[in-house]
C-alpha cells in the first residue's frame, strides 16, 4: 500500500545481479533507499536530491489532497466516517517517519 514507509519487492540488484527481495523505503511518495536482502547493497538517493524531491512532492500532495478526498468519498461514502478519521489520526506519525527517511545517513547512520 502506498502509505506504508517500507515495502518489499523482488527487484534485480545492480551489484550482485540477483533477482531477489529488496526492502524499499519511502519518504512520503518518494523512494528514499532500497536494500538488497541478498548482498546488503543499499541504493540511496543523495540527501539533497531526496529533500528537494520530497518538498516538491509534498507541495503536490497538499495541493491535490482535497480533490483526492472528495473523489474517495464519492466512490466510497463510508470513508468519510471510518477511513478519513483514521487517516487523520495517523498523519503525525506518518510525517515523523517521513522526516526520519530524509536524514543524512552519514550523520545518522541508524537511518
Amino acid at each position: 500500500m502506498p502509505d506504508q514507509p517500507r515495502q518489499t519487492a523482488v527487484l534485480v540488484c545492480s551489484f550482485c545481479n540477483r533477482e531477489c527481495e529488496h526492502e524499499v523505503h519511502y519518504a512520503g511518495r518518494i523512494l528514499a533507499h532500497a536494500k538488497c536482502t541478498s548482498c546488503g547493497t543499499v541504493m540511496r538517493q543523495s540527501p539533497t536530491t531526496l529533500r528537494k524531491a520530497y518538498i516538491k512532492d509534498l507541495e503536490h500532495r497538499a495541493a491535490t489532497k482535497p480533490m483526492r478526498i472528495v473523489r474517495r468519498i464519492l466512490s466510497d461514502p463510508g470513508y468519510l466516517f471510518t477511513g478519513l478519521p483514521k487517516a487523520i489520526r495517523k498523519q503525525p506519525k506518518k510525517f515523523v517517519e517521513e522526516a526520519k527517511e530524509l536524514r543524512d545517513p552519514k550523520k545518522h547512520p541508524e537511518a
Partner: protein, 235 residues
C-alpha cells in the same frame, strides 16, 4: 449515472502476475508504490486515457487477486476483469487470451493490446501510435535502437523490443493455441506470433526511452522523476 462505454472492439491486457512471485521469491514489484499509487495502476490510467479500449483485463498472481481488486477499485475508474496468471509470462498471456476467447470468436473483440505491468510509463500517445499501426497491418510493437553492438553481432542493427504490443485478436488466439499444442513458450507476444502466424505482418513503431521496465531499484527512482517532471500526467 454511469457513462456508456463506446464499443471499439479493442481489449487491453496488462500482465501483472510478476516473475519474482512466480518463482516464489517474494513480493511483486508491480504493487510497489510509485508516485502515490501502485505501479501497475499507472499503465491502466494511460490506457484508459486513450479512450481506445472497451475492455480491460489484468492478469495477477492468484494469491494477489483480492489485494489487486481493492487497489484497482481505488485507483482505476473503469471495470477491470481480473484473470489468474500462470507459471510464466507466456502462460499468463495464454490464460488471458483463453479468457477472452468467447468474445474473440464471436468477433466482438477484434484487437488485443498486451502490456507489461512493470512498464508504468507507456504514454497515451505511444499507445495510440501502436494501435493505429496494428489496425492497418494486423500487428504492431514499439522498439528502440541499441546504441553499441560489439562481438558476434557487430555491424548488425539490433533493437530492443518494448510493450505494449498489439495484434489482431483472432490470429493471436490461434497462435497461442498452436503454441500450447506444441509446448512452445515465447519470451514475448511477438515471438509467438512470428513463429505461428508469420502471415500477419507486424509493423514496428519507434518506442520511447521513458517507457522503461522497472527491473532495478534505480528504475523506480527514474520513473518517479519522469512522472513528477510531467506533473503526473503523460500525454
Amino acid at each position: 449515472m454511469k457513462k456508456h462505454r463506446q464499443h471499439t472492439g479493442r481489449t487491453a491486457v496488462v500482465l501483472a502476475a510478476g516473475s519474482g512471485t512466480r518463482l516464489g521469491a517474494g513480493a511483486n514489484k508491480v504493487w510497489l508504490p510509485l508516485g502515490g499509487r501502485e505501479l501497475a495502476t499507472w499503465s491502466l490510467r494511460w490506457l484508459r486515457q486513450t479512450g481506445l479500449f472497451d475492455r480491460y483485463v489484468i492478469v495477477v498472481h492468484p494469491n494477489e487477486r483480492e489485494d489487486a481488486r481493492e487497489i484497482l477499485n481505488r485507483h482505476v475508474e473503469v471495470p477491470i476483469d481480473i484473470v489468474d496468471g500462470g507459471k510464466s509470462r507466456h502462460d499468463s498471456e495464454t490464460r488471458a487470451l483463453e479468457y477472452l476467447a468467447p468474445s474473440i470468436e464471436s468477433g466482438d473483440c477484434k484487437l488485443v493490446l498486451i502490456h507489461d505491468g512493470a512498464r508504468p510509463l507507456a504514454s497515451p500517445s505511444l499507445v495510440r501510435r501502436i494501435v493505429e499501426a496494428a489496425e492497418s497491418s494486423g500487428g504492431s510493437l514499439p522498439y528502440l535502437e541499441t546504441a553499441h553492438i560489439t562481438g558476434s553481432y557487430s555491424g548488425q542493427q539490433l533493437v530492443r523490443v518494448q510493450t505494449p504490443q498489439v495484434f489482431a485478436a483472432a490470429p493471436l488466439l490461434d497462435a497461442y493455441r498452436q503454441a500450447a499444442a506444441e509446448g512452445f513458450e515465447g519470451s514475448d507476444t511477438s515471438m509467438c506470433m512470428e513463429r505461428f502466424r508469420p502471415d500477419i505482418p507486424v509493423r514496428v513503431v519507434k518506442g520511447s526511452a521513458q517507457n522503461l521496465k522497472v527491473t532495478y531499484p534505480q528504475d523506480l527512482v527514474m520513473a518517479e522523476h519522469i512522472l513528477a517532471a510531467q506533473g503526473f500526467s503523460l500525454k
